[in-house]
Symmetry: C2
């Protein structure tokens, strides 16, 4: 298919890459010159304007930060759209915003899908996990793209508009708590009077234990390089989607104390610089998401 990607950062570039190797025609646009250059190097046909990208594309994939920039970008290319084009928002947008966008575009006869994308940097090679919401018929039209971008069996239709980003929001909440759970454990092990080898422990846990996981695999990768984390700040960034998950839990009359606590620890770490445990979380976020880890003296 003809896929136009707007936003060619780390994730946008990986999505372009996967679509290209599966034989799709990929067009790309980004305001950042370096991102454009990197995309061109892997075979993306770089557009000089949004209008040009929209003209050539059947599916327009937004890979942008959540918020106003999504609306502003759609606004810009809206005059160039016709009812044969489908827009996919692959970012971490708020699901309620996605519903509003869906409704607005529906009136103009344009389909809008919200697609949560999980998998991080490693998704480039093994494929992503895609959670998709919107009109079922629009979803079905984009299946060839989803199939190419996703890991094997790694995409699914979640339901009406917003449900893709909704499920991704909850996924991220779970992710925060999982990261924090491992971090608490390794913090105890690191500080133990037993002089324990965390590389060895994370390795043996990957083989047959109840707590084996993808995050534990990345943890082991980190410990293979270093276990001391000297010169690294324990400040953990991110947190928006987790905050939404907590709000949604409240709205439903539920508690989500672990997700809440994990977010609180992230916020606190920004002020205090965190500890060994939050350093591990920051390094894990770097490992799977390429998020910055601050250096300290």
């Amino acid at each position: 298919m003809k896929l136009g990607i707007i936003g060619l950062g780390k994730m946008g570039n990986s999505i372009a890459y996967r679509a290209l190797i599966e034989g799709h025609d990929v067009f790309g646009f980004d305001i950042d010159k370096d991102s454009l250059k990197h995309a061109q190097e892997i075979g993306v046909k770089v557009s000089s304007s949004l209008s040009e990208l929209v003209l050539y594309s059947e599916v327009i994939w937004l890979m942008l930060p959540a918020g106003k920039i999504i609306d502003e970008t759609i606004e810009k290319f809206l005059p160039d759209l016709n009812n044969k084009k489908i827009i996919v928002d692959g970012g971490n947008s708020n699901f309620q915003d996605s519903v509003l966008r869906f409704q607005k575009l529906k009136k103009l006869g344009i389909e809008f899908l919200d697609c949560g994308v999980s998998g991080g940097l490693q998704g480039r090679e093994i494929g992503f996990c895609l959670m998709i919401g919107g009109q079922k018929s629009a979803f079905e039209q984009v299946v060839p793209i989803f199939e190419s971008i996703s890991a094997k069996n790694g995409f699914a239709y979640m339901g009406p508009s917003g449900s893709g980003h909704y499920v991704k929001m909850v996924h991220n909440g779970i992710e925060y708590a999982l990261l924090q759970a491992y971090s608490e454990g390794f913090n105890i092990l690191k500080n133990s009077e037993y002089r324990l080898n965390l590389e060895k422990i994370s390795d043996v846990w990957l083989h047959g234990s109840i707590i084996r996981s993808w995050i534990l695999e990345l943890t082991h990768k980190i410990f293979l390089k270093d276990q001391d984390f000297k010169g690294i700040s324990g400040q953990i960034g991110g947190g928006q989607t987790g905050a939404w998950a907590i709000q949604e839990a409240y709205k439903l009359g539920l508690n989500s104390p672990l997700i809440e606590k994990s977010l609180e620890i992230r916020q606190l770490s920004q002020k205090t610089g965190g500890d060994y445990g939050t350093k591990l979380v920051a390094l894990l976020r770097h490992e799977f998401g390429g998020h910055e880890v601050k250096k300290i003296d």
Copy 2:
């Protein structure tokens, strides 16, 4: 090797099974007649007394509940021991108790290893994850047994006496928080205004997402059978090793808020009967540990 297992419950039986299929000579003792019968059926040579078991075994493997029963059992067969025998405690004993037992037996010239065992019911077929503490030379003598019982690359020497149970204690603390993290997420999804299919969501998350894990695989297995959890109590049992992990964190001047909160939720669920989320945790504990799930009207 000649392996004598004392305690032939679910876990003891699985350890016997794995040792047998790898060609070891397995002797067994249990006060429960049914457990003895099941063990005999898979080829365990059942002993009529502890003395007999100790006489035939090179390695004596205790698979008993934590606490006094370990000391009482060792006390009973102590007269039959000689310095060629090695005792392994494969249960969830407190690491400090293990150190005391090690010291006491050391004076008598008898080796004692503490071995944390993870993997649950599924370990029977795929092998367990073993974390072993004690004298290195004793560990090395028992390697043929550890190799047979464990998953591939699933055993490792952790350090001095107590370190095996120490690492398992922290493992269990992490496990509590991981279970609770997924449970919070699926609780939100279940109660969402979107009528979401949790079987589908847990399935797609297993393919390429950041939060894929063994626990998520078991979660998906549960949802394949049922998503409503009607007639099931949300009371979560267990909690001893997690409580020790929290105490140890305090002793080291650390916080472990997620492990603490998870334990609190378990305790509260005993009084209130819990919610959809704690039902999932109870079902997961049943899935991997065979722990009872109470039925309600």
